[in-house]
């Protein structure tokens, strides 16, 4: 005991701690992110002005183009046009991809039977298949949904599948030892244990879904934000072309953040275990 007491006394006096703590408090993440964006925009603005406006653009010019497009209402109409097949395809990918991944990961036979298609599908050069999809589904809403769906289901499905195979065997044995039927083990042990992987897959799929949406708008009936991109590119109006591109990227960031929020809502233990709940 004496030894222990001696040891606790040796570090610097305790009252000094809160002070150093306050001084060392790290910058909030949003401050760093904002600063990073501001720096990027300034650099882009500075160098972008020297480039021929056909070959590039810069933030203030894009902002003006944005205001024009927004005022005319064209941007919002195009956004609404794009979001419908996007939302439908993406939602469908989640609704089908997650259960499919769970079943593939859980059952050896299903894994052997269907695993290869999912692995191959992930690498499928979808852009080459869009013309074929058009032949099957026409030029309208359906083919766009299908394109978004096909691009985003694989990361969701594969992540879920990998998540299932990473579930500790002992947790499944807990279910077995209490005589839980397979369906209960799947729903109440494997699904929650896999949630972080599922959410990661859903996040990864956002980017691919956005890309798929634009591809579909390029290659099928030209519409939505993709149409604005194509039309302004054809008119050498590079600034206007950047408006939907930037908008899509901002949208992807927003969606990503939203998914993160949902994840903390449905799997709060995960952030707590990882020690990220204070951030």
């Amino acid at each position: 005991m004496v030894e222990i007491a001696g040891r606790t006394a040796s570090p610097p006096a305790a009252p000094a701690e809160p002070d150093t703590e306050a001084r060392r408090r790290p910058l909030p993440a949003w401050v760093i992110t904002t600063a990073s964006v501001v720096v990027l925009l300034l650099v882009w603005e500075f160098f972008g002005r020297d480039i021929n406006p056909v070959f590039g653009s810069y933030p203030s010019q894009i902002a003006i183009a944005f205001v024009d497009l927004a005022r005319s209402g064209k941007l919002w109409a195009a956004l609404a046009d794009s979001l419908q097949p996007f939302a439908a395809g993406y939602a469908l990918a989640i609704v089908i991809g997650v259960p499919l991944g769970l079943v593939i990961g859980r059952f050896r036979v299903v894994e052997a039977a269907l695993g290869i298609y999912v692995t191959a599908g992930y690498a499928m050069p979808l852009i080459a298949l869009v013309p074929l999809l058009v032949l099957w589904l026409g030029l309208g809403f359906k083919v766009k949904v299908a394109t978004v769906f096909l691009m985003s289901i694989f990361p969701i499905c594969i992540n879920t599948w990998l998540g299932v195979t990473a579930v500790p065997k002992t947790l499944i044995e807990v279910g077995k030892s209490f005589v839980a039927p397979d369906s209960v083990i799947l729903r109440r042990i494997i699904l929650p244990a896999t949630l972080p992987y599922i959410m990661a897959g859903i996040r990864l799929a956002v980017g691919r879904a956005v890309v798929a949406m634009v591809i579909a708008e390029f290659l099928t009936s030209i519409s939505g934000l993709g149409a604005i991109i194509i039309n302004s590119a054809n008119n050498f109006d590079t600034a206007t072309m950047f408006v939907p591109i930037v908008l899509l990227m901002v949208m992807a960031i927003g969606l990503n953040w939203l998914i993160g929020w949902v994840e903390r809502l449905v799997a709060p233990w995960q952030a707590e275990i990882a020690g990220r709940d204070q951030e």
Partner: protein, 260 residues
């Protein structure tokens, strides 16, 4: 009643080592019985098959030969007549302590208020009244294992199967948990099969010790300590404890094959 027997249980594993298929005989005709209300320690060096024997008794693994009976009736697979306490508690991390205990009960078909009350009662029993709503990562190692024990006890099994439940705990917590287990045993009179690699633990808590080596039973010995054991710290100082411990040590080291 609660009596579990392993009768001529054998287990072979096949392993693929560097392209060659090897057969490992994990258990060779192991037979022993844990009688009603008795605590039996299964002890031996790692790889001796003690955990395999326990897992076969639970039904988590199938035997290559022989059978397991509970109260004389042969069992296949897992059942509510046996409650398992895992080495690292293995609580479901997304559930609170209370919900973890409720999980086992729900699988037994319990619902509603009875379910909640029963789970709460068993958490109280293991001294976790105030930590019901904590998640596993908010519990210490000892507390987690208390929840693990409550979860297994709550389904009121005939036999409690414990797989080195205190092996991962620090020495002081381990001693507290051993005392706690003795107290729980006094109150519930459960039949317990307790796998351990700790000589002290085996001698302290058991009525009989089954010493295993290389998939066989080396020796079965009676522990001449009275019940209730009371203060385990004091029990450790008795001659009977020291003698038992030494006998187990001898059994584990008798004509030791060239293993070390």
């Amino acid at each position: 009643m609660g009596e579990v027997s392993l009768i001529d249980v054998s287990k072979r594993f096949t392993l693929r080592v560097a392209g060659e298929i090897q057969t490992v005989q994990a258990l060779s005709k192991v037979s022993f019985t844990v009688r009603d209300g008795e605590i039996v320690s299964l002890i031996g060096p790692s790889g001796c098959g003690k955990t395999t024997a326990l897992r076969i008794a639970m039904g988590l693994e199938t035997a290559s030969g022989g059978r397991v009976t509970v109260d004389g009736r042969e069992v296949a697979g897992c059942g509510h007549d046996r409650g398992m306490v895992f080495q690292h508690a293995e609580l479901l991390p997304w559930l609170t302590a209370l919900q973890n205990v409720m999980f086992g009960l729900e699988m037994k078909g319990m619902r509603g208020d009875v379910l909640r009350d029963t789970a709460a009662r068993y958490l109280d029993l293991v001294g976790l009244k105030d930590s019901r709503n904590r998640r596993p990562h908010q519990l210490s190692g000892g507390m987690k294992q208390r929840v693990g024990i409550a979860r297994a006890l709550a389904i009121d099994p005939k036999v409690l199967l414990m797989d080195e439940p205190f092996g991962a705990l620090d020495a002081q917590t381990r001693e507290t948990m051993q005392e706690e287990l003795m107290r729980l045993h006094e109150r519930t009179k459960k039949t317990i099969l307790f796998v351990t690699h700790d000589l002290d633990e085996a001698a302290l808590i058991a009525d009989r010790i089954v010493v295993m080596r290389e998939g066989r039973i080396q020796e079965v010995m009676q522990v001449p300590l009275p019940r209730p054991r009371g203060d385990l710290g004091r029990t450790r100082g008795t001659k009977e404890f020291a003698d038992t411990r030494y006998r187990v040590w001898q059994a584990l080291h008798a004509d030791a094959p060239t293993m070390h």
